[in-house]
Each structure stands twice: as C-alpha cells, then as structure tokens.
C-alpha cells in the first residue's frame, strides 16, 4: 500500500500532573499524518506542546506527563498500546531523536563513537566493526572533519556544530524510518547553523527518511520542511505545505508569527546631531580578559583594542557569534570585569576601571540588563522589593514615595501595579524581562547595556520587548547598547552596528545598510547566513568556501 501514511496520530491528548496534584491537558486532541519520506515541521512558541508531541511519537513522555487518549501509529506499530519494553525496541530502529542541545545529550564520560553506535549494540543490529564503519560513513556524509578519528574524542573536545551533526549520526545509525529533530539548530550560531541544516537535508534526502522538525523559527523550518503544522496551546492552528504557510497564511496566529519576522524599519530618534555634542559613551583602546594578571596583562585576553562612540539618543548594536566577546564588552564597560587597558568615558567622565571604585553617580548613568531574568532576579523577593532596592540605593527613596515610584516603573514597562506583590517565579518569561528592564530604569540611567535580552524569549514576545524599548527611548531619551546574535533584532532597533569577531571589532556599519555596506569578509559571511523566509533560500545560497574555512567555526 503506497498511499498508507508512515505515521498517523489521531486525537492525541496528553496531560500533565501539576505540583498541586491537578491534571492539566497540555495536548488537546491533535491529529496529523506523515507520509514516507516527508519532513513535517511542528512550529509554535515555547509551551505550545511541540516537543511533547515529538517525544510522544517515541512513546515517551517526560516525568509527570502521560498520554491520556488517542492513538499514535508508526508503520504497523501502535505506539500507544505497546508495553514499555516493546516501545524500547522501536526506539533507535524505527524512530530516532536528534536533541535540542547535543552538548547536554552526549554522556560526558564516554567516547563519541561508543555513544553513536550504542543503538546497534542495544538492538543487536551490527557487530562493532561494521557499526564503526557505518558511523564513519555517516560522519563523512554529514561533512564532519576527520571522520575516521573524530569518534575517538570525548564530547567536550569537539565544537557545538560538530556535536549537533554527531547527534544526527547517532540518530541515523539504526536506519530509522522517522527521525525527530527537536530544535537542533537553536543553540548554534547562524554561520554554523547553515552547514548543519545542509548536512541534515542531504542525508535525509539520500536515505528517503521521514522527519519531524520541531522549531520556533519559521525561516529555518522553511528550508527543510515539506509541510508545516502551526501549534498553539496544544492545538493545531493551521496545517499546510511550507510554501502555503509562508505565502498565504489563513490563521491569525500564523500571521502574527510571520509578522514578528517582518523587519520593522528603525526610525532614528530626532535628536540634534552635531559633532560638538558629547558622546554618551566612548570607549578608547579598551582591552580586557580573564585569569591571573601578569605584567599588566591577564592570562586569557578576550577583548583587543576596542574603540567606538555612541551619541546620545542613538543605539549601538553589537553582533557576532558566541565567544566573540560581546558579553565581555558589556561587562568591561560596566566595570564588572575591569579592563586592563584603555578607557570607558560616560557622558564625558572617564570611569574608574572597576565597579568598586566608581561613584554612585557614575554607576547610576550606565545600567545593564542581563540575558536571563531567571538568574538576574532574586527568586525569593517580590517584584516590589526588587525594584525598591535601586530606588533606595541611588535615590534614597523610602516609604510611600518609593512605592509610588515602583508603580510608576511597572507602568513604564506596561505591567499592572498589582504585580509588585508577586514573586519572579509567578511571572511569564516576557513579564520577567520587563521587570528586569524596570530595575535598570529605576536608576534613571542615560545608557542601558542590553545583553541578549530577547534571546531567551519567543519571537512574538521578543518583538514586543523591542517595541517597548523604542517607546521608552522616545520618552526618556535613553541610549542603548544592544548586544545580540540575532541580526534582525539588531536591525529593528539600532542605528549603528559593530561586528565583533574573536574579541575585535572587525567593522562598524549603519544598521539599515548592513547587507549592502558590509565589506569585511566576516561581516559578509554573517549577514549572508541569516535564514530568509523563503523555501529556496538554503538551496540557492552560495557562500565562498574560503570565507567559511577562515571564519566559521564548524
């Protein structure tokens, strides 16, 4: 029967038991089919149930969750009706899994090859020599460097992009009919992501395998999926071919997702710009690093000779891949990591290198907002107390005045006043990030250093934070230094962009003309690596292999 789908899910319902013992439904009656050789993408924001559905295809639910109703059929196996031992038999052989973070999914104490071929040992598919040979072939097909010897290494000895491809080899070794990809490129840099996506696509096409690709990123999904299923709150909102979803979305939620992708052109603030105006932030010959200092230089030098100026009311973006020194720059400017050379000048005043030596007034002018509100906000303190602390510290505010200002701050970040009595754990990710921002605003700063503040948020929520930043800028005449690895976010809010590579600023560009003006080879590679909402983008993308060899850490 050729028209029989490989996978069919009917009316799947998955429930979770909360800490309070209440049963909540997280997947509410989902049905879809996957044809042999077809790649279906599950897309939606965090909490939409996409990973839960993907894992249930393997008959697995995380602790506290369970399949309540419905059927999952893969080939002739009824996964829902099977015993756990029988399910174990199809895992790795019929269905396999490529995890979100390969770095966490590899056992740190075993060699890579042992883990890659483990499936063949568990299911007694091949003897060890044959399995290793097959693994090496897969390494080669996935374009891994040194395919013959890379398996002998331990997971911490290879790069993130390599590990992600190795995890794909681990999933493919048992010749499964269906491969589940769970956000496999989310943790990677854009320049690395391309190569991984390409490798995935080519092995899937060659093997004729079906796939489920879980992601929150429409542009990535457009490159690899035949069909897209849009999920929200455990329900299917819309289903169609990739082209259909991108060109003619019918459901409002899909349109909202697509709209969050539309670059919102940044309108520069109308401030008098003459050269005589003092820059709000100037960095001169700044160098910083970590480790014990010898002869005035730290053991690990991270930032090398950074120079830039930021005019009041303007925004400066800092982009670059992970490890390029973006966050270290923010830490050096704020004095958390005292630079060993160079100067930081805020509003014409040369700052002391170390945080501890700076005056309260100096500290007040430049505030920093960290990437993860979960770790930046004290989980044991209510929001009101968190916001009152800088008010007391910088402005010596107490009592009713302090309370009134807390309410005002919450209003500025568009949160209800009643929220001040709650703990951070009771807020959503977006709300927490707003509180994080309000805490910086409490000091009445002129400059805010934003370190990847939208990276941990869903696209729609992140876009709303960017809008809020713009609004606050208009009202309070703020300047932002905006650190991000996401070029479209930087484009949406910044006037100028610094491209960083290995601790150096390789190029400064106007944000609006990044792709046209980029001259430095690394900036060009970076700009061309950002996925576009176009199903043919990856296939048609041509990058100079020499550039890739030089700059992409694959």
């Amino acid at each position: 029967m050729s028209n029989q789908p490989l996978v069919s899910i009917r009316d799947l319902k998955i429930g979770a038991t909360t800490d309070a013992g209440r049963r909540v439904e997280i997947i509410r009656g989902v049905s879809f089919d996957i044809q042999p050789g077809e790649i279906v993408a599950l897309i939606g924001e965090s909490g939409s149930g996409k990973t839960t559905i993907a894992l249930s295809l393997m008959g697995h639910t995380r602790t506290g969750c369970g399949i309540d109703a419905g059927t999952i059929r893969i080939d002739q196996h009824d996964v829902t009706a099977m015993s756990e031992a029988k399910r174990a038999r199809i895992r790795g052989t019929e269905v396999s899994y490529v995890p979100q973070s390969a770095a966490a999914a590899f056992n740190p104490s075993q060699r890579i090859i042992d883990q890659v071929i483990e499936v063949t040992a568990i299911h007694k598919l091949l003897d060890r020599d044959a399995a290793e040979k097959k693994a090496v072939e897969l390494f080669r097909a996935l374009a891994l460097p040194n395919p013959d010897t890379i398996g002998a290494r331990y997971p911490h000895q290879v790069s993130g992009g390599q590990l992600q491809r190795l995890s794909a080899a681990m999933a493919l070794i048992g010749d499964p009919k269906l491969v589940i990809f769970d956000e496999p490129t989310t943790a990677l840099d854009v320049t690395t992501q391309i190569e991984v996506l390409r490798a995935f696509r080519s092995v899937m096409e060659k093997g004729g395998m079906a796939g489920v690709y879980v992601s929150h990123d429409l542009a990535v999904v457009a490159q690899i999926a035949d069909r897209i299923i849009v999920l929200k709150s455990g329900e299917i909102q819309e289903e169609g071919t990739a082209q259909q979803i991108l060109d003619a979305p019918t459901h409002p939620y899909t349109r909202e997702l697509l709209a969050a992708f539309e670059p919102v052109p940044h309108v520069p603030l109308d401030v008098p710009q003459d050269a005589s105006r003092q820059p709000i932030l100037e960095v001169r010959n700044l160098s910083a690093g970590y480790g014990p200092v010898r002869n005035g230089e730290p053991a690990a030098k991270i930032l090398k000779d950074i120079n830039f100026r930021l005019q009041p009311g303007k925004n400066l973006g800092v982009i670059g891949e992970s490890g390029s020194g973006k966050s270290t720059l923010a830490r050096a400017i704020s004095g958390i990591l005292p630079p060993y050379q160079g100067e930081v000048v805020v509003n014409g005043v040369v700052q002391e290198p170390s945080l501890a030596q700076r005056s309260k007034e100096q500290l007040r002018h430049a505030q920093i907002v960290f990437q993860l509100p979960d770790t930046a906000l004290n989980p044991a303190q209510p929001i009101g107390a968190i916001l009152a602390r800088p008010l007391r510290f910088y402005h010596n505010m107490r009592g009713a005045a302090c309370e009134a200002r807390v309410i005002e701050l919450l209003d500025m970040v568009q949160l209800p006043a009643a929220l001040r009595h709650r703990l951070p754990g009771e807020l959503s990710g977006g709300q927490k990030q707003r509180v994080n921002l309000a805490r910086a605003l409490a000091a009445d700063p002129k400059l805010i250093l934003c370190d990847e503040i939208t990276s941990a948020l869903d696209t729609v929520v992140g876009a709303a934070i960017i809008e809020l930043l713009k609004e606050l800028q208009r009202e309070l005449e703020l300047s932002y230094m905006f650190i991000s690895h996401d070029l479209s976010t930087v484009e949406a809010i910044c006037d100028d962009v610094l491209v960083m590579y290995k601790g150096e600023v390789v190029e400064a560009l106007p944000a609006a003309r990044m792709s046209e003006d980029a001259r430095h080879p690394y900036s060009r590679l970076l700009v061309s690596s950002v996925p576009k909402l176009d199903t043919g983008w990856l296939a048609g993308l041509e990058q100079d292999p020499e550039l890739i060899a030089r700059f992409a850490n694959r």
Partner: protein
Amino acid sequence: MLLSYSTSILVLQRLAIALLTLVIVSFAVFFATELLPGDVAQILLGQAATPEAVAGLREAMGLNQPAFLRFLGWLAGLLHGDFGISYVNNMPVADLIGDRLVNSLRLAGVTTLVSVPVSLCLGIGAAMWRGSLFDRIVTVLTISVISVPEFMVATLAVLIFAVWLGWLPALSYGADVSSFSAMLKAYAMPVISLSFVVCAQMIRMTRAAVIDTINTPYVEMALLKGARRSRMVLRHALPNALGPIANAIALSLSYLVGGVIIVETIFNYPGVAKLMVDAVATRDLPLIQSCAMIFCVSYLSLITLADLMAILSNPRLRK
C-alpha cells in the same frame, strides 16, 4: 589505563596537597595534646613525689625542651617509624598500637566488605526504581537507622542474639576464629552494628547522586535510543555519579577507624579507638599522638583516594 602528562600532574598535585595537609595535621595534633591539662611527670610519680623528683623526671623525659623542638624530634621519629616510648609502661608505642591496629583494621575491613556492596546495590536500586515500593522501603529504613544511635543497635543486638537466642558470642575478641563459619559468628554482631551506621549514609548519598545524573538529558537520550532501564543507569548515569559516590563512601568509611569507640566498648573489642581513650585517661602523650595520627592518616588517605577516583573517572579532568 595510561595516564597522560596533564593527568599525572593533576594526580601529583592532589597527592602533594594530601601530604601538606598531613604535616599541618601533625602540627595540630602535637600542640593540641600539649594543651591537655596536668603535668605528665607529676601524674607518673603520684602525689607523694618531691618537687626534685618531678623536676628530675621532667629533665630525663626531655619535657624541658621548647615545644617546637620536641615537635620536630617527634616528626622526625615518625618518619623513621619511631612512634616514641609510652610514658606509662615504657613500651614502644609502635608495639602497643601494632596489634590493636590490626584488630581495628580487620573489623573495618570486614565491615567495608559487607557495607559497601550492600549500600551501592540498595542505593542504585532505589534510584533506578525511584518512587517504587522498593525505593520507599529503603528510604524509610535508612532514615530510621540514621536516627537510632549505634550504642542502641549494638546493645539490642547483644540482648537479642547473645543473651536471648544465644546464637552468637557476645564478645568477638578471643572467640574461636579457626573456621570460616566461626569467624562469621564472631564478627557478625560488631559488623552488623557498624554497617547499620555507615550504610544508611552511603545509601542515601548514592541514591541522590545517581538520581541527579538520571535526570540529565544524556540519560533521557539513552532511553530514546531504546536502552533498558538497567543500561541507562549502569552505563550512563553511574559512571558520571562515581565522583560524589566515592566521596560519600570515603566519608562514611573514615568513621570506621576512629569513630568506633562505642562499638569497641560494647563488644569489648581491643581496637585503636579504645586504646586512645585509655591513653587520654593516663596522659600518655606519645600514645595519644600516635593514635590521633593514625586516625588522621586513614581519613586523609580515604578522602584522597576518593578525589583521585573522581579525577580519573572524569574525562574532562583526565584529558
């Protein structure tokens, strides 16, 4: 396994730290015993002694030298295997301790042989089937054992097995150990009492360490590769939990050498701990110092061993 250069450095560093600690500890032991109240010469000669006789004895014993010089002399002696002469009965301390130490080590050794495998099996089993009836029973038992003091366990054991049932001898030392079954009988009660105490801690720590690693994504990955529960735990979780488990075991076992005084007393077992208590009563400084050093050395070597295991089981540190 061949050790690479950087691993050898790491191991040597750890050993050097252990050695340094030992020197500091010996310093502390020597001067702590110096602080003990009472004058040795006075105690030895009794209340009727004349001040001249006491002074003469002090001179003869070298007690008039500065403390630091005596410390150096003592340390040098230790390095040559000379533990000094007992003040009380003029016998070499090494002879006094020798037999006792063998006794203590034998008891500790048998207890280790029993308690470590039992704790590992119960701890790993409880982690493997977390939330099951087995896990709950193990948890309840370990908590109740922790809360019962060992003298109670030991006394009850004597009362039940030796007095009422008459199955086992109440005294272990001097009992007939000619055959294997007789040896089992002789050691059964002290070993059981000691095992109760050390096992509970080891089981709880092992269970916690294994559960910690079971919750990691790589163990979930093993499940998604079709691995059975036993493979997930034994091949993927356990090797990564070895460091903390080794440390928990070392801490528990170090109790066996020094902390067994109560058990040694109840079963009238002539071990080092009992010797040390007697030595304190008679102000026999060389003996006290030597016993304290033995406890410290055994503790330190167990902890160092555990650390070395943690280093060698972690490929990041092994490189």
